[in-house]
Protein backbone atom coordinates (compact mmCIF):
# COMPACT_ATOMS: atom_id res chain seq x y z
CA UNK A 1 0.00 0.00 0.00
CA UNK A 2 1.00 3.59 -0.54
CA UNK A 3 2.41 6.00 2.00
CA UNK A 4 -0.81 7.92 2.59
CA UNK A 5 -2.71 4.72 3.28
CA UNK A 6 -4.12 6.26 6.44
CA UNK A 7 -5.84 9.00 4.54
CA UNK A 8 -9.56 8.59 4.45
CA UNK A 9 -11.16 8.75 1.02
CA UNK A 10 -14.78 8.10 1.89
CA UNK A 11 -16.24 8.76 5.28
CA UNK A 12 -19.89 8.03 5.92
CA UNK A 13 -21.10 9.53 9.19
CA UNK A 14 -24.37 8.64 10.89
CA UNK A 15 -26.06 8.02 7.58
CA UNK A 16 -29.79 7.50 7.71
CA UNK A 17 -31.54 6.41 4.54
CA UNK A 18 -35.24 5.75 4.78
CA UNK A 19 -37.49 4.34 2.14
CA UNK A 20 -41.14 5.07 1.92
CA UNK A 21 -43.18 1.97 1.08
CA UNK A 22 -46.89 1.28 1.01
CA UNK A 23 -46.59 -0.66 4.27
CA UNK A 24 -44.57 1.94 6.11
CA UNK A 25 -41.25 3.71 6.47
CA UNK A 26 -38.32 1.32 6.03
CA UNK A 27 -35.23 2.41 7.91
CA UNK A 28 -32.90 0.67 5.49
CA UNK A 29 -29.79 2.44 6.73
CA UNK A 30 -30.11 3.57 10.31
CA UNK A 31 -27.29 5.64 11.71
CA UNK A 32 -24.49 3.93 9.85
CA UNK A 33 -20.89 5.10 9.84
CA UNK A 34 -18.05 3.61 7.87
CA UNK A 35 -14.99 4.76 6.05
CA UNK A 36 -12.77 3.71 3.19
CA UNK A 37 -9.12 4.73 3.18
CA UNK A 38 -7.06 5.36 0.09
CA UNK A 39 -6.01 2.21 -1.71
CA UNK A 40 -7.97 -0.01 0.63
CA UNK A 41 -10.52 -2.73 -0.07
CA UNK A 42 -13.27 -2.55 2.49
CA UNK A 43 -16.01 -5.14 2.82
CA UNK A 44 -19.58 -4.33 3.78
CA UNK A 45 -21.11 -7.64 4.77
CA UNK A 46 -24.61 -8.69 5.68
CA UNK A 47 -27.60 -10.79 4.77
CA UNK A 48 -29.99 -9.83 1.99
CA UNK A 49 -32.20 -6.97 3.07
CA UNK A 50 -29.91 -5.61 5.76
CA UNK A 51 -29.47 -2.30 3.96
CA UNK A 52 -26.03 -2.66 2.42
CA UNK A 53 -27.12 -1.92 -1.13
CA UNK A 54 -29.10 1.09 0.06
CA UNK A 55 -25.96 2.34 1.80
CA UNK A 56 -24.07 2.04 -1.48
CA UNK A 57 -26.80 3.73 -3.48
CA UNK A 58 -26.84 6.54 -0.90
CA UNK A 59 -23.16 7.19 -1.54
CA UNK A 60 -23.90 7.40 -5.28
CA UNK A 61 -27.07 9.39 -4.56
CA UNK A 62 -28.94 6.96 -6.81
CA UNK A 63 -31.71 5.96 -4.42
CA UNK A 64 -34.97 4.89 -6.06
CA UNK A 65 -36.90 8.11 -6.56
CA UNK A 66 -39.04 9.43 -5.08
CA UNK A 67 -39.33 6.84 -2.30
CA UNK A 68 -35.76 6.64 -1.04
CA UNK A 69 -34.27 9.57 0.84
CA UNK A 70 -31.18 10.36 2.83
CA UNK A 71 -32.72 11.85 5.96
CA UNK A 72 -29.61 12.40 8.03
CA UNK A 73 -25.87 12.13 8.30
CA UNK A 74 -23.12 13.05 5.93
CA UNK A 75 -21.03 11.36 3.26
CA UNK A 76 -17.60 12.90 2.96
CA UNK A 77 -15.76 12.00 -0.19
CA UNK A 78 -12.37 13.63 -0.69
CA UNK A 79 -13.40 16.24 1.86
CA UNK A 80 -16.68 17.06 0.12
CA UNK A 81 -20.07 16.28 1.62
CA UNK A 82 -21.92 14.44 -1.13
CA UNK A 83 -25.29 14.83 0.57
CA UNK A 84 -25.04 18.59 0.04
CA UNK A 85 -24.22 18.54 -3.67
CA UNK A 86 -26.70 19.44 -6.38
CA UNK A 87 -27.73 16.77 -8.89
CA UNK A 88 -25.50 18.39 -11.51
CA UNK A 89 -22.44 18.44 -9.23
CA UNK A 90 -23.14 14.85 -8.24
CA UNK A 91 -23.33 13.84 -11.90
CA UNK A 92 -19.81 15.15 -12.42
CA UNK A 93 -18.58 12.85 -9.64
CA UNK A 94 -20.44 9.72 -10.68
CA UNK A 95 -18.35 7.69 -13.05
CA UNK A 96 -15.39 10.03 -12.95
CA UNK A 97 -14.52 9.80 -9.24
CA UNK A 98 -16.81 7.11 -7.88
CA UNK A 99 -18.01 4.18 -9.97
CA UNK A 100 -20.28 1.33 -9.10
CA UNK A 101 -20.72 -2.14 -10.54
CA UNK A 102 -23.91 -4.03 -10.03
CA UNK A 103 -24.85 -7.57 -9.30
CA UNK A 104 -26.30 -8.57 -12.65
CA UNK A 105 -23.96 -7.65 -15.46
CA UNK A 106 -26.45 -8.58 -18.19
CA UNK A 107 -29.19 -6.18 -17.23
CA UNK A 108 -26.65 -3.50 -16.41
CA UNK A 109 -25.54 -3.32 -20.04
CA UNK A 110 -27.57 -1.72 -22.81
CA UNK A 111 -28.76 -4.73 -24.84
CA UNK A 112 -28.67 -3.05 -28.24
CA UNK A 113 -25.38 -1.23 -28.01
CA UNK A 114 -22.05 -2.79 -28.84
CA UNK A 115 -19.76 -3.21 -25.89
CA UNK A 116 -17.07 -0.94 -27.29
CA UNK A 117 -19.59 1.85 -27.79
CA UNK A 118 -20.78 1.53 -24.22
CA UNK A 119 -17.27 1.99 -22.89
CA UNK A 120 -16.70 4.91 -25.27
CA UNK A 121 -19.93 6.42 -24.03
CA UNK A 122 -18.63 6.28 -20.45
CA UNK A 123 -15.37 7.94 -21.46
CA UNK A 124 -16.86 10.78 -23.50
CA UNK A 125 -19.49 11.64 -20.93
CA UNK A 126 -16.73 12.99 -18.67
CA UNK A 127 -13.77 13.71 -20.88
CA UNK A 128 -13.20 15.62 -24.07
CA UNK A 129 -11.60 13.03 -26.29
CA UNK A 130 -12.26 12.18 -29.90
CA UNK A 131 -13.98 8.93 -30.83
CA UNK A 132 -10.87 7.22 -32.15
CA UNK A 133 -8.87 7.87 -29.04
CA UNK A 134 -11.81 6.79 -26.89
CA UNK A 135 -12.10 3.58 -28.87
CA UNK A 136 -8.44 2.82 -28.40
CA UNK A 137 -8.79 3.46 -24.69
CA UNK A 138 -11.81 1.18 -24.55
CA UNK A 139 -9.76 -1.63 -26.04
CA UNK A 140 -6.96 -0.96 -23.57
CA UNK A 141 -9.45 -1.01 -20.72
CA UNK A 142 -10.81 -4.35 -21.86
CA UNK A 143 -7.27 -5.57 -21.94
CA UNK A 144 -6.62 -4.37 -18.40
CA UNK A 145 -9.61 -6.34 -17.07
CA UNK A 146 -8.31 -9.53 -18.61
CA UNK A 147 -9.94 -9.53 -22.05
CA UNK A 148 -7.03 -9.98 -24.44
CA UNK A 149 -9.27 -9.93 -27.51
CA UNK A 150 -10.49 -6.39 -26.81
CA UNK A 151 -11.03 -5.52 -30.47
CA UNK A 152 -13.29 -8.50 -31.04
CA UNK A 153 -15.28 -8.16 -27.85
CA UNK A 154 -15.76 -4.43 -28.39
CA UNK A 155 -17.70 -5.32 -31.53
CA UNK A 156 -20.07 -7.71 -29.76
CA UNK A 157 -23.47 -7.14 -28.25
CA UNK A 158 -23.75 -7.95 -24.52
CA UNK A 159 -25.98 -10.98 -25.04
CA UNK A 160 -23.29 -12.69 -27.09
CA UNK A 161 -20.70 -12.88 -24.34
CA UNK A 162 -20.62 -14.89 -21.12
CA UNK A 163 -21.53 -13.68 -17.66
CA UNK A 164 -17.97 -13.45 -16.44
CA UNK A 165 -17.02 -11.54 -19.56
CA UNK A 166 -19.89 -9.13 -19.01
CA UNK A 167 -18.80 -8.44 -15.47
CA UNK A 168 -15.31 -7.68 -16.76
CA UNK A 169 -16.88 -5.29 -19.24
CA UNK A 170 -18.79 -3.64 -16.38
CA UNK A 171 -15.53 -3.20 -14.51
CA UNK A 172 -13.92 -1.76 -17.63
CA UNK A 173 -16.78 0.75 -17.92
CA UNK A 174 -16.47 1.60 -14.23
CA UNK A 175 -12.75 2.24 -14.67
CA UNK A 176 -13.20 4.27 -17.86
CA UNK A 177 -12.57 7.63 -16.22
CA UNK A 178 -10.03 6.53 -13.60
CA UNK A 179 -12.21 6.80 -10.51
CA UNK A 180 -10.63 6.83 -7.06
CA UNK A 181 -13.38 4.73 -5.49
CA UNK A 182 -15.05 1.65 -6.92
CA UNK A 183 -18.19 0.36 -5.26
CA UNK A 184 -18.80 -3.28 -6.13
CA UNK A 185 -22.30 -4.39 -5.18
CA UNK A 186 -22.28 -8.19 -5.04
CA UNK A 187 -20.09 -8.35 -8.13
CA UNK A 188 -19.80 -12.11 -8.26
CA UNK A 189 -23.12 -13.33 -6.91
CA UNK A 190 -24.48 -14.35 -10.30
CA UNK A 191 -21.32 -16.02 -11.52
CA UNK A 192 -19.84 -19.50 -11.42
CA UNK A 193 -17.36 -20.12 -8.65
CA UNK A 194 -14.41 -20.41 -11.01
CA UNK A 195 -15.39 -17.17 -12.74
CA UNK A 196 -15.87 -15.50 -9.34
CA UNK A 197 -12.23 -16.07 -8.55
CA UNK A 198 -11.20 -14.50 -11.85
CA UNK A 199 -13.31 -11.41 -11.24
CA UNK A 200 -11.88 -11.04 -7.74
CA UNK A 201 -8.45 -11.35 -9.25
CA UNK A 202 -9.30 -8.50 -11.61
CA UNK A 203 -10.51 -6.32 -8.74
CA UNK A 204 -7.48 -7.01 -6.61
CA UNK A 205 -5.27 -6.42 -9.63
CA UNK A 206 -6.72 -2.99 -10.41
CA UNK A 207 -6.35 -1.99 -6.77
CA UNK A 208 -2.71 -2.94 -6.94
CA UNK A 209 -2.04 -1.25 -10.26
CA UNK A 210 -4.17 1.84 -9.97
CA UNK A 211 -4.24 2.36 -6.22
CA UNK A 212 -8.01 2.55 -6.39
CA UNK A 213 -10.10 2.09 -3.25
CA UNK A 214 -12.84 -0.50 -3.32
CA UNK A 215 -15.99 -0.82 -1.26
CA UNK A 216 -17.04 -4.42 -1.69
CA UNK A 217 -20.61 -5.20 -0.80
CA UNK A 218 -21.25 -8.88 -0.31
CA UNK A 219 -22.80 -11.58 1.80
CA UNK A 220 -19.94 -13.92 1.07
CA UNK A 221 -17.42 -14.04 3.89
CA UNK A 222 -15.02 -16.18 1.91
CA UNK A 223 -14.72 -13.37 -0.55
CA UNK A 224 -14.07 -10.91 2.27
CA UNK A 225 -11.33 -13.02 3.77
CA UNK A 226 -9.65 -13.27 0.42
CA UNK A 227 -9.86 -9.67 -0.68
CA UNK A 228 -10.61 -7.14 2.05
CA UNK A 229 -8.36 -5.18 4.38
CA UNK A 230 -11.16 -4.20 6.73
CA UNK A 231 -14.73 -5.33 7.19
CA UNK A 232 -17.96 -3.75 8.35
CA UNK A 233 -20.67 -6.19 9.28
CA UNK A 234 -24.17 -4.83 8.88
CA UNK A 235 -27.30 -6.19 10.46
CA UNK A 236 -30.82 -4.78 10.13
CA UNK A 237 -29.70 -1.33 9.06
CA UNK A 238 -26.87 -0.97 11.58
CA UNK A 239 -23.17 -1.71 11.69
CA UNK A 240 -22.77 -4.45 14.32
CA UNK A 241 -19.06 -5.03 14.04
CA UNK A 242 -16.11 -3.48 12.32
CA UNK A 243 -12.59 -4.82 12.30
CA UNK A 244 -9.51 -5.51 10.22
CA UNK A 245 -10.23 -8.72 8.32
CA UNK A 246 -7.67 -10.72 10.26
CA UNK A 247 -9.13 -9.67 13.62
CA UNK A 248 -12.68 -10.33 12.50
CA UNK A 249 -11.93 -13.88 11.51
CA UNK A 250 -9.78 -14.75 14.52
CA UNK A 251 -11.80 -12.92 17.11
CA UNK A 252 -15.41 -12.29 16.05
CA UNK A 253 -16.87 -10.14 18.82
CA UNK A 254 -20.49 -9.96 17.88
CA UNK A 255 -22.64 -13.10 18.04
CA UNK A 256 -23.96 -12.37 14.55
CA UNK A 257 -20.47 -12.33 13.05
CA UNK A 258 -19.63 -15.46 14.96
CA UNK A 259 -22.65 -17.26 13.56
CA UNK A 260 -21.98 -15.95 10.06
CA UNK A 261 -18.48 -17.39 10.24
CA UNK A 262 -19.80 -20.72 11.48
CA UNK A 263 -22.23 -20.93 8.60
CA UNK A 264 -19.50 -20.74 5.98
CA UNK A 265 -18.91 -24.26 4.66
CA UNK A 266 -15.36 -25.50 5.08
CA UNK A 267 -13.64 -28.47 3.53
CA UNK A 268 -12.18 -29.75 6.78
CA UNK A 269 -15.35 -29.57 8.85
CA UNK A 270 -17.53 -32.65 9.38
CA UNK A 271 -20.02 -33.13 6.58
CA UNK A 272 -23.15 -33.44 8.68
CA UNK A 273 -25.02 -30.24 9.08
CA UNK A 274 -24.09 -26.69 8.23
CA UNK A 275 -24.70 -24.18 10.99
CA UNK A 276 -27.47 -21.72 10.20
CA UNK A 277 -28.71 -18.62 11.92
CA UNK A 278 -32.24 -19.27 13.13
CA UNK A 279 -34.94 -16.81 12.17
CA UNK A 280 -34.69 -14.03 9.65
CA UNK A 281 -33.65 -10.42 9.33
CA UNK A 282 -36.18 -8.35 11.26
CA UNK A 283 -38.68 -6.27 9.42
CA UNK A 284 -37.08 -2.86 9.09
CA UNK A 285 -40.41 -1.13 9.50
CA UNK A 286 -40.91 -2.54 13.02
CA UNK A 287 -37.39 -2.86 14.34
CA UNK A 288 -37.23 -4.90 17.57
CA UNK A 289 -36.54 -2.94 20.75
CA UNK A 290 -33.17 -3.29 22.41
CA UNK A 291 -30.49 -5.13 20.46
CA UNK A 292 -31.74 -5.81 16.92
CA UNK A 293 -30.23 -9.26 16.99
CA UNK A 294 -31.63 -10.45 20.31
CA UNK A 295 -34.43 -12.51 18.74
CA UNK A 296 -31.88 -14.70 16.97
CA UNK A 297 -28.99 -14.46 19.40
CA UNK A 298 -28.08 -17.62 21.35
CA UNK A 299 -26.61 -15.54 24.19
CA UNK A 300 -29.48 -13.08 24.53
CA UNK A 301 -30.28 -12.05 28.08
CA UNK A 302 -32.93 -9.87 29.68
CA UNK A 303 -30.91 -6.69 29.24
CA UNK A 304 -30.60 -7.28 25.47
CA UNK A 305 -34.33 -6.87 25.09
CA UNK A 306 -34.30 -3.45 26.70
CA UNK A 307 -31.02 -1.74 25.92
CA UNK A 308 -29.83 -0.81 22.47
CA UNK A 309 -26.08 -1.48 22.55
CA UNK A 310 -23.43 1.02 21.43
CA UNK A 311 -20.34 0.25 19.41
CA UNK A 312 -17.71 -0.78 21.92
CA UNK A 313 -14.00 -0.94 21.26
CA UNK A 314 -12.70 -4.48 21.55
CA UNK A 315 -9.29 -4.16 19.93
CA UNK A 316 -7.20 -2.08 17.58
CA UNK A 317 -9.59 -0.66 15.01
CA UNK A 318 -12.07 -3.29 16.18
CA UNK A 319 -15.54 -2.41 17.43
CA UNK A 320 -18.66 -4.44 18.18
CA UNK A 321 -22.22 -3.45 18.98
CA UNK A 322 -22.93 -5.99 21.71
CA UNK A 323 -23.63 -5.74 25.42
CA UNK A 324 -21.32 -8.72 25.99
CA UNK A 325 -18.42 -6.46 25.13
CA UNK A 326 -19.71 -3.66 27.31
CA UNK A 327 -18.14 -3.78 30.75
CA UNK A 328 -21.17 -2.00 32.24
CA UNK A 329 -23.30 -5.10 31.75
CA UNK A 330 -21.81 -7.66 34.03
CA UNK A 331 -24.10 -10.56 33.37
CA UNK A 332 -23.36 -14.26 33.21
CA UNK A 333 -23.17 -14.67 29.39
CA UNK A 334 -22.25 -18.11 28.10
Amino acid sequence: MTLDSDKVLLEVRNLKTYIETSSGLVKAVDDVSFDVRKGEIVGLVGESGCGKTMAALSVMRLLPEPYGKIVGGSIYFDGQDLTKLSEGEMRAIRGSKISIIFQDPLTALNPIMKIGEQIVEAIVSHQQVDKNEARQRAINLLHSVGIPDGKVIANQYPFRISGGMRQRVMIAIALACDPTLLIADEPTTNLDVSIQAQILEVISDIRRKRGISVLLITHNLGLVAWLCDRVFVMYAGKIVEQAPTEALFTNPSHPYTELLLKSVPKLDSPKDKLATIEGEVPNLIMVPKGCRFHLRCPYARECCRAVEPDLVKVGIDHYARCLMQDSRYNVEWK
Binding site: M60, R91, I93, T107, A108, N110, I112, M113, F159
Partner: protein
Protein backbone atom coordinates in the same frame (compact mmCIF):
# COMPACT_ATOMS: atom_id res chain seq x y z
CA UNK B 1 -15.86 -17.18 -24.74
CA UNK B 2 -12.18 -16.53 -25.27
CA UNK B 3 -12.28 -18.85 -28.24
CA UNK B 4 -14.83 -17.01 -30.31
CA UNK B 5 -14.75 -18.62 -33.72
CA UNK B 6 -13.38 -16.51 -36.52
CA UNK B 7 -16.51 -16.87 -38.66
CA UNK B 8 -18.72 -15.62 -35.89
CA UNK B 9 -16.57 -12.57 -35.55
CA UNK B 10 -16.69 -11.84 -39.25
CA UNK B 11 -20.42 -12.18 -39.29
CA UNK B 12 -21.12 -9.63 -36.56
CA UNK B 13 -18.63 -7.14 -37.86
CA UNK B 14 -20.47 -7.27 -41.19
CA UNK B 15 -23.23 -4.86 -41.96
CA UNK B 16 -26.15 -4.60 -39.59
CA UNK B 17 -28.57 -4.41 -42.50
CA UNK B 18 -27.50 -7.77 -43.83
CA UNK B 19 -28.29 -9.48 -40.53
CA UNK B 20 -31.75 -7.91 -40.45
CA UNK B 21 -32.42 -8.92 -44.05
CA UNK B 22 -31.29 -12.45 -43.39
CA UNK B 23 -33.73 -12.95 -40.53
CA UNK B 24 -36.48 -11.26 -42.57
CA UNK B 25 -35.98 -13.81 -45.30
CA UNK B 26 -36.76 -16.62 -42.89
CA UNK B 27 -40.42 -15.66 -42.96
CA UNK B 28 -42.19 -16.12 -46.26
CA UNK B 29 -44.90 -13.55 -45.60
CA UNK B 30 -42.36 -10.95 -44.52
CA UNK B 31 -40.33 -11.68 -47.64
CA UNK B 32 -43.40 -11.06 -49.76
CA UNK B 33 -44.04 -7.78 -47.91
CA UNK B 34 -40.46 -6.70 -48.32
CA UNK B 35 -40.25 -7.52 -52.03
CA UNK B 36 -43.59 -5.85 -52.72
CA UNK B 37 -42.64 -2.71 -50.80
CA UNK B 38 -39.25 -2.49 -52.51
CA UNK B 39 -40.92 -2.95 -55.90
CA UNK B 40 -43.46 -0.29 -55.05
CA UNK B 41 -40.75 2.13 -54.00
CA UNK B 42 -38.90 1.57 -57.28
CA UNK B 43 -42.12 2.01 -59.26
CA UNK B 44 -42.94 5.18 -57.31
CA UNK B 45 -39.51 6.68 -57.97
CA UNK B 46 -39.31 5.64 -61.64
CA UNK B 47 -42.97 6.38 -62.43
CA UNK B 48 -42.31 8.95 -65.19
CA UNK B 49 -39.89 6.57 -66.90
CA UNK B 50 -41.67 3.24 -66.61
CA UNK B 51 -45.29 4.21 -67.07
CA UNK B 52 -46.27 3.15 -70.62
CA UNK B 53 -48.53 6.14 -71.31
CA UNK B 54 -49.07 9.70 -70.14
CA UNK B 55 -51.45 9.41 -67.14
CA UNK B 56 -53.23 12.59 -68.24
CA UNK B 57 -53.56 11.84 -71.97
CA UNK B 58 -57.21 11.33 -72.86
CA UNK B 59 -58.58 9.04 -75.53
CA UNK B 60 -62.29 9.84 -75.35
CA UNK B 61 -63.51 7.67 -78.21
CA UNK B 62 -62.18 4.59 -76.45
CA UNK B 63 -63.26 5.54 -72.91
CA UNK B 64 -63.99 2.69 -70.45
CA UNK B 65 -62.20 0.25 -72.73
CA UNK B 66 -61.66 -3.06 -70.84
CA UNK B 67 -58.14 -4.49 -70.42
CA UNK B 68 -56.58 -5.24 -73.78
CA UNK B 69 -53.36 -4.61 -75.63
CA UNK B 70 -51.69 -2.06 -75.43
CA UNK B 71 -53.74 -0.77 -72.46
CA UNK B 72 -53.16 -3.76 -70.21
CA UNK B 73 -55.52 -2.53 -67.47
CA UNK B 74 -57.90 -0.74 -69.80
CA UNK B 75 -58.96 2.90 -70.02
CA UNK B 76 -60.95 5.02 -67.56
CA UNK B 77 -63.93 7.29 -68.08
CA UNK B 78 -61.81 9.88 -69.91
CA UNK B 79 -59.92 7.29 -71.88
CA UNK B 80 -56.77 7.57 -69.72
CA UNK B 81 -54.53 4.52 -69.32
CA UNK B 82 -55.37 2.90 -65.94
CA UNK B 83 -51.97 1.23 -65.52
CA UNK B 84 -50.11 4.49 -66.03
CA UNK B 85 -52.38 6.21 -63.53
CA UNK B 86 -51.83 3.44 -60.97
CA UNK B 87 -48.07 3.79 -61.42
CA UNK B 88 -48.18 7.55 -60.92
CA UNK B 89 -50.61 7.04 -58.04
CA UNK B 90 -47.95 4.92 -56.33
CA UNK B 91 -45.73 8.01 -56.14
CA UNK B 92 -48.45 9.97 -54.37
CA UNK B 93 -49.26 7.11 -52.00
CA UNK B 94 -45.66 6.45 -51.03
CA UNK B 95 -44.91 10.12 -50.61
CA UNK B 96 -47.89 10.68 -48.34
CA UNK B 97 -47.27 7.46 -46.39
CA UNK B 98 -43.60 8.17 -45.80
CA UNK B 99 -44.06 11.81 -44.86
CA UNK B 100 -46.91 11.04 -42.48
CA UNK B 101 -44.99 8.27 -40.74
CA UNK B 102 -41.70 10.12 -40.41
CA UNK B 103 -43.27 13.31 -39.12
CA UNK B 104 -45.58 11.49 -36.69
CA UNK B 105 -42.65 9.40 -35.50
CA UNK B 106 -40.53 12.49 -34.92
CA UNK B 107 -43.23 14.21 -32.89
CA UNK B 108 -44.16 10.97 -31.13
CA UNK B 109 -40.59 10.19 -30.10
CA UNK B 110 -39.94 13.65 -28.72
CA UNK B 111 -43.23 13.94 -26.86
CA UNK B 112 -43.29 10.31 -25.69
CA UNK B 113 -39.69 10.19 -24.49
CA UNK B 114 -39.91 13.46 -22.59
CA UNK B 115 -43.20 12.63 -20.95
CA UNK B 116 -42.12 9.09 -20.07
CA UNK B 117 -38.69 9.97 -18.75
CA UNK B 118 -39.38 13.13 -16.80
CA UNK B 119 -42.91 12.26 -15.70
CA UNK B 120 -44.68 14.79 -13.49
CA UNK B 121 -46.39 17.76 -15.05
CA UNK B 122 -44.60 17.37 -18.41
CA UNK B 123 -46.12 13.91 -18.68
CA UNK B 124 -49.49 15.20 -17.56
CA UNK B 125 -49.60 17.95 -20.21
CA UNK B 126 -48.27 15.83 -23.09
CA UNK B 127 -50.53 12.88 -22.44
CA UNK B 128 -53.70 14.89 -21.94
CA UNK B 129 -53.08 16.61 -25.27
CA UNK B 130 -52.53 13.18 -26.85
CA UNK B 131 -55.74 11.92 -25.21
CA UNK B 132 -57.71 14.81 -26.71
CA UNK B 133 -56.52 13.83 -30.18
CA UNK B 134 -57.17 10.17 -29.55
CA UNK B 135 -60.69 10.91 -28.34
CA UNK B 136 -61.74 11.77 -31.91
CA UNK B 137 -62.24 9.02 -34.47
CA UNK B 138 -59.09 9.71 -36.48
CA UNK B 139 -60.55 9.63 -39.98
CA UNK B 140 -63.41 11.92 -38.96
CA UNK B 141 -60.91 14.37 -37.45
CA UNK B 142 -58.81 14.21 -40.61
CA UNK B 143 -61.92 14.84 -42.73
CA UNK B 144 -62.77 17.81 -40.54
CA UNK B 145 -59.29 19.27 -40.86
CA UNK B 146 -59.28 18.74 -44.62
CA UNK B 147 -62.67 20.39 -44.92
CA UNK B 148 -61.24 23.47 -43.21
CA UNK B 149 -57.82 23.74 -44.87
CA UNK B 150 -58.78 22.48 -48.32
CA UNK B 151 -57.53 19.63 -50.47
CA UNK B 152 -53.84 19.32 -51.39
CA UNK B 153 -51.11 16.75 -50.86
CA UNK B 154 -49.43 18.86 -48.19
CA UNK B 155 -52.69 19.27 -46.32
CA UNK B 156 -53.37 15.54 -46.47
CA UNK B 157 -49.98 14.90 -44.84
CA UNK B 158 -50.61 17.58 -42.24
CA UNK B 159 -54.02 16.30 -41.22
CA UNK B 160 -52.84 12.69 -41.05
CA UNK B 161 -49.85 13.66 -38.90
CA UNK B 162 -52.19 15.48 -36.54
CA UNK B 163 -54.28 12.36 -36.06
CA UNK B 164 -51.50 9.77 -35.91
CA UNK B 165 -48.68 11.20 -33.72
CA UNK B 166 -50.46 10.37 -30.43
CA UNK B 167 -50.23 6.64 -31.18
CA UNK B 168 -46.46 6.86 -31.52
CA UNK B 169 -46.18 9.09 -28.47
CA UNK B 170 -48.09 6.61 -26.34
CA UNK B 171 -45.99 3.64 -27.36
CA UNK B 172 -42.73 5.54 -26.93
CA UNK B 173 -43.86 6.78 -23.55
CA UNK B 174 -44.71 3.34 -22.23
CA UNK B 175 -41.44 1.97 -23.61
CA UNK B 176 -39.58 4.79 -21.90
CA UNK B 177 -41.26 4.14 -18.57
CA UNK B 178 -40.32 0.46 -18.75
CA UNK B 179 -36.79 1.22 -19.87
CA UNK B 180 -36.00 3.87 -17.33
CA UNK B 181 -36.40 1.36 -14.51
CA UNK B 182 -33.90 -1.03 -16.08
CA UNK B 183 -30.53 -1.64 -14.52
CA UNK B 184 -28.58 -0.31 -17.47
CA UNK B 185 -30.22 3.07 -17.10
CA UNK B 186 -29.24 3.14 -13.42
CA UNK B 187 -25.79 2.01 -14.51
CA UNK B 188 -25.62 4.84 -17.04
CA UNK B 189 -26.70 7.31 -14.36
CA UNK B 190 -24.06 5.83 -12.08
CA UNK B 191 -21.53 6.64 -14.77
CA UNK B 192 -22.62 10.25 -14.62
CA UNK B 193 -24.69 10.42 -17.81
CA UNK B 194 -27.13 13.31 -17.99
CA UNK B 195 -30.86 12.92 -18.60
CA UNK B 196 -30.53 14.12 -22.21
CA UNK B 197 -27.66 11.74 -22.88
CA UNK B 198 -29.55 8.80 -21.37
CA UNK B 199 -32.59 9.58 -23.49
CA UNK B 200 -30.55 9.91 -26.66
CA UNK B 201 -28.19 6.99 -26.36
CA UNK B 202 -30.02 4.49 -24.21
CA UNK B 203 -33.76 5.05 -24.09
CA UNK B 204 -34.72 6.19 -27.59
CA UNK B 205 -32.67 3.54 -29.46
CA UNK B 206 -34.18 0.85 -27.26
CA UNK B 207 -37.69 2.23 -27.62
CA UNK B 208 -37.57 2.49 -31.42
CA UNK B 209 -37.62 -1.22 -32.47
CA UNK B 210 -41.10 -1.83 -31.06
CA UNK B 211 -42.25 1.31 -32.86
CA UNK B 212 -40.89 0.11 -36.19
CA UNK B 213 -43.77 -2.29 -36.53
CA UNK B 214 -46.18 0.52 -35.69
CA UNK B 215 -44.50 2.75 -38.27
CA UNK B 216 -44.71 0.09 -40.97
CA UNK B 217 -48.37 -0.53 -40.17
CA UNK B 218 -48.71 3.26 -40.11
CA UNK B 219 -47.44 3.41 -43.70
CA UNK B 220 -50.27 1.10 -44.69
CA UNK B 221 -52.93 3.01 -42.84
CA UNK B 222 -51.64 6.40 -44.04
CA UNK B 223 -51.89 5.15 -47.62
CA UNK B 224 -55.36 3.87 -46.88
CA UNK B 225 -56.37 7.15 -45.24
CA UNK B 226 -55.06 9.18 -48.17
CA UNK B 227 -57.07 6.99 -50.53
CA UNK B 228 -60.09 7.42 -48.28
CA UNK B 229 -59.80 11.21 -48.17
CA UNK B 230 -59.26 11.38 -51.93
CA UNK B 231 -62.22 9.06 -52.45
CA UNK B 232 -64.35 11.56 -50.55
CA UNK B 233 -62.95 14.42 -52.64
CA UNK B 234 -61.10 15.85 -49.63
CA UNK B 235 -57.63 14.63 -50.47
CA UNK B 236 -55.60 15.07 -53.57
CA UNK B 237 -57.11 17.23 -56.30
CA UNK B 238 -58.18 15.57 -59.55
CA UNK B 239 -56.85 15.08 -62.15
CA UNK B 240 -53.78 14.08 -60.10
CA UNK B 241 -53.74 10.28 -60.22
CA UNK B 242 -54.49 9.04 -56.71
CA UNK B 243 -55.69 5.52 -55.98
CA UNK B 244 -58.53 6.89 -53.88
CA UNK B 245 -59.77 9.12 -56.69
CA UNK B 246 -59.56 6.20 -59.10
CA UNK B 247 -61.76 4.05 -56.86
CA UNK B 248 -64.19 6.94 -56.51
CA UNK B 249 -64.54 7.53 -60.25
CA UNK B 250 -64.57 3.81 -60.98
CA UNK B 251 -67.49 3.41 -58.60
CA UNK B 252 -69.75 5.28 -61.03
CA UNK B 253 -68.98 2.77 -63.75
CA UNK B 254 -68.83 -0.35 -61.59
CA UNK B 255 -71.25 -2.27 -63.81
CA UNK B 256 -70.09 -1.12 -67.26
CA UNK B 257 -66.35 -1.06 -66.52
CA UNK B 258 -65.50 -3.02 -63.33
CA UNK B 259 -61.80 -3.07 -64.28
CA UNK B 260 -61.38 0.48 -62.92
CA UNK B 261 -62.59 -0.29 -59.39
CA UNK B 262 -61.05 -3.73 -59.27
CA UNK B 263 -57.55 -2.65 -60.30
CA UNK B 264 -57.35 0.38 -58.02
CA UNK B 265 -59.14 -1.32 -55.11
CA UNK B 266 -56.92 -4.35 -55.37
CA UNK B 267 -53.71 -2.37 -55.39
CA UNK B 268 -54.73 -0.49 -52.23
CA UNK B 269 -55.55 -3.76 -50.48
CA UNK B 270 -52.37 -5.53 -51.49
CA UNK B 271 -50.23 -2.52 -50.58
CA UNK B 272 -51.70 -2.22 -47.09
CA UNK B 273 -51.39 -5.97 -46.60
CA UNK B 274 -47.76 -5.92 -47.71
CA UNK B 275 -46.89 -3.20 -45.23
CA UNK B 276 -48.58 -5.14 -42.44
CA UNK B 277 -46.71 -8.34 -43.28
CA UNK B 278 -43.44 -6.45 -43.48
CA UNK B 279 -44.12 -4.79 -40.13
CA UNK B 280 -44.60 -8.15 -38.46
CA UNK B 281 -41.44 -9.54 -40.02
CA UNK B 282 -39.40 -6.51 -39.04
CA UNK B 283 -40.44 -6.81 -35.44
CA UNK B 284 -38.76 -10.17 -35.22
CA UNK B 285 -35.78 -9.21 -37.31
CA UNK B 286 -34.92 -6.00 -35.48
CA UNK B 287 -34.66 -7.53 -32.04
CA UNK B 288 -30.99 -8.47 -31.63
CA UNK B 289 -31.89 -10.83 -28.82
CA UNK B 290 -33.84 -13.02 -31.22
CA UNK B 291 -30.93 -13.15 -33.66
CA UNK B 292 -28.64 -15.81 -32.34
Amino acid sequence: MEQLGKEEVKETSGSELRTVLRSLRRSRTATFGLIYVIALVIVAILAPIISPFDPYAQDLPNRLQPPSFPHILGLDEFGRDVLSRLIHGATISMQVGLEVVLLSLLIGVIVGAISGYYGGWADMVCMRVADIFLAFPSLVLAIGIMAVIGPSIFNVVLSLVVVSWPYYARVIRSQTITLKKMDFITAARAMGASGRRILRTHIIPNAIPPVIILATLGMGSAILAEAGLSFLGLGVNPPTPSWGIMVASGRDYILQAPHMVISSGLIITITVLAFNLLGDGLRDALDPRLRI
